[in-house]
Symmetry: C2
Subunit: 196 residues, 2 copies
């Protein structure tokens, strides 16, 4: 497989490491990926935490509400809860509660879809739109301040690399999901005596 880490670790290796040492050192094969992931996670946790803090301090609003409003502001025609759920990558049940509170506070308007009686279409109210506009201006400045350490070329390079990782992550997730679906199908057939 990927022998990237210049496989010169072959030579000695007399006594196989015991479990303990293995577990502690073990990053063995994939240390680089693990470090990358940890740095990525640390960074987004830092930024997210700071944005959360500032939103609360300056506007007394929570980050999830801001995020939801950010989705809605780009959809003047409204979105269904499912749409929001997919875009925000959170569960359906989560969105239900979030929307409930935003309707309560008058930022969001919710009505049954005219074409699908199962679905709710939600939109920002005028108040919601105004509130979001005010927040978005500062939010953007915060992000620019925090991510401002790169020049245009670096920024573009980073964007590209993140895109590449995103693609391979997507692939890994999809492959896993397919495998799970397949397994479920098989089990189901086995259980019900489906096509042998």
């Amino acid at each position: 497989m990927h022998d990237r880490v210049s496989v010169d670790e072959t030579a000695p290796e007399p006594v196989p490491l015991d479990h303990e040492a293995k577990a502690l050192e073990a990053p063995a094969e994939h240390a680089a990926e693990l470090r990358l992931w940890l740095r990525l996670l640390t960074l987004s946790t830092m930024i997210e935490g700071e944005v959360r803090r500032r939103l609360r301090e300056r506007f007394d609003v929570t980050l999830p509400r801001f995020d939801l409003m950010a989705q809605l502001v780009r959809a003047p025609d409204g979105m269904t809860l499912s749409d929001v759920s997919k875009r925000m990558m959170v569960s359906n049940g989560n969105v239900t509660g979030l929307v409930e509170r935003l309707v309560e506070s008058g930022h969001v308007d919710r009505r049954v879809s005219q074409t699908d009686r199962r679905a709710q279409v939600i939109r920002l109210t005028e108040e919601g739109r105004a509130a979001f506009r005010a927040m978005a201006v500062e939010h953007e400045a915060w992000i620019a301040e925090m991510l401002g350490g790169l020049d245009a070329g670096e920024s573009e390079a980073l964007m590209g690399l993140l895109g590449k990782v995103k693609a391979s992550t997507r692939t890994a997730i999809d492959a896993n999901a397919r495998a799970r679906t397949e397994e479920a199908r098989t089990n189901s057939n086995a259980g019900t005596g489906g096509p042998r």
Copy 2:
């Protein structure tokens, strides 16, 4: 009201854009940073979500518990709750509850520090260590699978760029914290009639 029905608002529009349009387009100055942040956030959300799902599916464990155990496995002499809180970048109160549940399940051992009677020192139990070892092996493979799309050079480049962003983020956060502290000091002086 909202003339959503595709007004084909392209052609005319002679007048300078109003607030609405501005707000929508406004990424104006800092569009690149905003896009970068969104991509970063999307990526870490994707990975984190998948790891969470797999940990639950394979080991019936939550991600925060895994993360806490990952901190402890590297500290055979134990850590205080505060240490953990800082390393995980979560609130103190959060750690209290998390540790409570891990002690309950027998993965973690907790005792009062011998040198500071305020502090609790926590360690993995043998069971906790064994359980973590098993999980860590798969976890590492998952990460390698998801982040596997880069060659060594790209990986290193990404690491460097993330480091750079992390540094500038750190700077921005610290500057803000200092400003807040300063403001608090000033207010406090004003209120109590401190040094003019």
